[in-house]
Amino acid sequence: MQKMHARVLVVLAMRNLRRHLRRTVLTASAMIVGGALLVFTFAIGDGGHEQWIDSGVRLGNGHVTVERPEYRVSRRIDDRLAADVRRAAEQALAAPEVAPHVVATSAKLSINGLASSSAGARPAQIVAVDPVAETGFGMVDDQIVEGRYLEPDDRLAAYVGAELVDSLELRLGSRFVVQAQDTEREIAGQLLRVVGIFRSGVPAVDQMTIHIPLTTAGDWLGSQNDVTNVGVVLDGSAATALVRGHLERALADPVTRGDARVMGWREADPALAAAIAIDDFGAYLTNGFLFVIIGFGIVNTVLMSVMHRRREFGVLQALGLTPGQTGAIVLVEGLTLSAASGLLGVALGLAGTWYFFGAGLDMSAVMEDIGDMTFSGAVIDPVIVPLFATRRLLQIVTFILCIGAVASIYPALRAARVDVTEAMKFDR
């Protein structure tokens, strides 16, 4: 009997939606436009965020990084990863469950030091890398201003940030000296020659960063082939948790001993994570307001429909429907309308956003006066490629359904509480 009731209620709800076609279409239009806008704004927003993350992790330590727990604060050469930990991490990244997500891996020795020339001395972030691995890891090709990147056979070569080059009054081929604490805790110096100049767009990077070959650093500082961290760039930030979890399991012993720590980009770069969270919050707030307005529209439309159909609800209750079942008809109508129009809106949003998949949405016209936009170590690309995530689409559909349900509750209550005898009084 309950099953029969449910079927009858759904049939009544559907026919009423069809009967008041203009009202239905008007309400549905608001939901369709809202749903499409929601998909578009989040696809563009998520695409932009993914680009920020990609830029940030390539300039930094990757989506996931393995390093000693103390290193993040100390930045000292003493806090190098043990060779067996590095090996274990690199082997774990080759495992079939994570390898498809790994785009590049780079083991680096990154320490603070001092760079000097005849023009003066400047603090420097010295990053010793395997040139081949780093070419795939960083954004070397996009950033070279002059010269070239490091090559495997380089010995005393340095790839230097453009602003550091300027402040030390260097140029391509110039020699300069870097000093840092070695493994014996002595200050050691090394003569280098500028082979390439880069500009990342991030002032802190361009003012301080010097890339040198890992072999050069090993000889200079006595660190041999040791590194301070192993960074991994993934095919998308969504794979971070998977790879991080895998590495944590693979490195369980050194992690427990305090010899290693595995971090995702959110931990490694909390400022970038916070910036994205704030931007997301803004999008949630804007879309929330948009849907509150749409929700009020639905409340208004459904409530008007309820007011016009008071007699009908009275009749239904006289014929044997309970107040709850009467309210359920209105709820089913509201939910069906929201679900159908919301899904159509999502489909339209996907279709509309699909257009920007190829070339992306070019925002350079509104950003041209700003120049390079950076924050939290990430460069903002003016061309945004939208990103669709199943999780996001599910969130959007759930949100639309919730708005539809919430907007239908009050009208449903009004329908349930209709005074049967008043509702059926003949209009004289």
């Binding site: 009858v8 009544l12 009908e312 009749v315 006289a318 014929l319 044997g320 429907l321 309970t322």
Partner: protein, 233 residues
């Protein structure tokens, strides 16, 4: 007061008092009434005499301020909304002055609606409704929506809807008020025939002389109370 389980309806000292702002309106005042199964009874009286309110009390559409109402042997006075809904579904059929068919359903679907809610299977529903449609001259109009039917036809669908689910009684509130003479007579013929052939208990609220003439029992109400109760052969 004891319940008479053989009666379709019994009221005992029923009052219904409405409050309109500071004023108290006694719509029904201490009515004692018993309607036996199979009766064809009219509650007559001028506007404001309380006949529609009494009908609503019997049908469980409103609750008495004081007193008790039994329908098919069950005391409805203290029932919850859900219990009243179930009682109406199982025991009471309604015919309204304004027909009150559901506009989104066809004539057949309207007539079947209470049976759908009762869970009667499709074959049985169709058989009952088609038989009643044949009796009421509604053959061939099954697929029409209410908007495509005349007032008389809509009221006949309403009567079929009220009767098809085989309730203990049918309550008809001014069923002929919107019909012309011919349609009224035809409708009364139909209801009298259903009463006679199927034993359906009818209680009318009316001030239509034609209905009063056809009723086998005429209860006159004045100012919310029963003024006279006349039985005819």
């Amino acid at each position: 007061m004891a319940n008479d389980s053989t009666a379709a309806v019994r009221t005992a000292g029923v009052w219904k008092i409405f409050r309109q702002e500071a004023e108290e309106v006694q719509a029904v005042r201490g009515v004692d009434l018993t309607v036996a199964r199979g009766e064809f009874t009219a509650l007559a009286g001028p506007s404001g005499s309380g006949k529609t309110t009494l009908l609503n009390l019997i049908g469980g559409l409103t609750r008495p301020t004081r007193g008790q109402v039994w329908v098919a042997g069950r005391d409805v006075s203290g029932m919850t909304s859900q219990e009243l809904a179930r009682l109406r579904l199982a025991q009471v059929g309604f015919v309204f002055q304004a027909y009150n068919l559901l506009p989104v359903l066809t004539a057949l679907e309207n007539a079947e609606f209470p049976m759908l809610l009762q869970g009667v299977d499709a074959a049985e529903r169709h058989a009952r409704v088609r038989e009643l449609f044949a009796r009421t001259g509604m053959d061939g109009l099954e697929d029409r929506r209410p908007g495509k039917l005349s007032g008389g036809q809509q009221q006949r669908v309403a009567v079929v809807r009220a009767v098809a689910s085989r309730p203990a009684l049918v309550l008809a509130d001014e069923p002929t008020a919107n019909l012309d003479s011919a349609a009224s007579e035809a409708l009364l013929d139909v209801m009298a025939e259903l009463n006679r052939d199927l034993g359906v208990t009818f209680v009318f609220a009316t001030h239509d002389g034609r209905v009063m003439e056809r009723a086998r029992r005429l209860v006159r109400m004045v100012d919310g109370a029963i003024d006279s109760d006349e039985r005819r052969a």
